[in-house]
Amino acid sequence: MGDSQYSFSLTTFSPSGKLVQIEHALTAVGSGQTSLGIKASNGVVIATEKKLPSILVDEASVQKIQSLTPNIGVVYSGMGPDFRVLVRKSRKQAEQYHMLYKEQIPVTQLVRETAAVMQEFTQSGGVRPFGVSLLVAGYDDKGPQLYQVDPSGSYFSWKASAMGKNVSNAKTFLEKRYTDDVELEDAVHTAILTLKEGFEGQISGKNIEIATIGPEKIFKVLTPAEIDDYLGEVE
């Protein structure tokens, strides 16, 4: 197709109606480490692989799952540095909302504003799209929610979703095992099993990250010891 002639500039449509740079950004996401999220009846769990480039890296210093507010957290697949920029911007937006309204920002509003930032970078001159897809997990007055945000700025609410390298296997696995009334504890087990499906090597509390948010509305990243306990239960 004549698409390749239009792939240099983000702000030019190709004849097939695509923005080729965004397609490339999605490819960058697709080759990132697997991450997934599951919405339970009483909470949300998000998890990701934490494959480090060498055993010499201090794994305790790497934290791929971040909280945006006390009741909203996020995980990504794709380019880590781009993720850090988005986390920073989202945290600022959440705080600005709180400063104005003295109320915690609802999950949908924060997702919408983060997606708007990502969209800005697809329609401005001299910038490139973010090379990450985000999974935002939160618990507010509307209950537990899980959103995926793509480099194009589109966002979707999911009951369960996966991104990154192993996405098709992981999604098939989740489709089979997901039920609407699954509880948070079971959802954590399902998340671990899904990660295990495509995991190369021995899974342990040091090479995956899991975070949950339950009815008490506090976003919590599990410690490696807690992850090992769950792994023990799953065996």
């Binding site: 400063m99 104005l100 309204y101 003295k102 109320e103 609802p106 949908t108 509003q109 919408r112």
Partner: protein, 204 residues
């Protein structure tokens, strides 16, 4: 004459049992000349939230327009009405934006919060919130209103008694203030209905 006394106003809100009432006078003046006797100082933000703006009428109008703008956008984005506490924080933020060139208004905010709990609050012209459990007052008749409300207020009044008490307090106070009066507007709000009445007082 101070800028806050240019147009003249009287505003008061009072808490009852699972209800609240907010009342204002109806005079709009230019210093000592009366221009209108049917001026609306209180407006509805939504069915469970009212705001009254005392002070300079032009600033009250502009501030009101800005607040309605913000609230309508909030309703569209968040698909819900603003809680009274949230609205009060918004009013406070908007007023403080103009810290060194303020709106010459004193707002009175009254609404029903979660669980049908009545919420009233006033702020000064640069956004310092004052939450109260019984009543809040504003306007040129403010000092008289404080006295009248303090004397007549009882906790947990039913809507009918609250209406009587607030009407009497308002009419008594504006009679001691030459810049406010010419009757009154009163809204009594319960979880199920909003009652709006016009009061007849001394027409001077």
């Amino acid at each position: 004459m101070s800028i806050f006394e240019y147009n003249g106003s009287a505003l008061v809100a009072m808490v009852g049992k699972n209800c609240f009432a907010i009342a204002s006078d109806r005079r709009l003046g230019v210093q000592l000349q009366t221009i209108a006797t049917d001026f609306q100082r209180i407006s509805k933000v939504h069915d469970r939230l009212f705001i009254g703006l005392s002070g300079l009428a032009t600033d009250a109008q502009t501030l009101h327009q800005r607040l309605m703008f913000r609230h309508k956008l909030y309703q569209l984005r968040e698909e819900r009405d603003m809680k009274p506490e949230t609205f009060a924080s918004l009013v406070s933020a908007l007023l403080y934006e103009k810290r060194f060139g303020p709106y010459f208004c004193q707002p009175v905010i009254a609404g029903l919060s979660d669980g049908d709990k009545p919420f009233i609050c006033t702020t000064d012209s640069i956004g310092a919130k004052e939450l109260a459990k019984d009543f809040v007052v504003a306007g040129t008749a403010g000092d008289s209103l404080y006295g009248a409300c303090e004397a007549m207020f009882k906790p947990d009044m039913e809507p009918e008694e609250l209406f009587e008490t607030l009407s009497q307090a308002l009419l008594a106070s504006v009679d001691r203030d030459c810049l406010s009066g010419w009757g009154g507007h009163i809204y009594v709000v319960t979880p199920t209905e909003v009652k709006e009445c016009t009061l007849k007082g001394r027409m001077d």
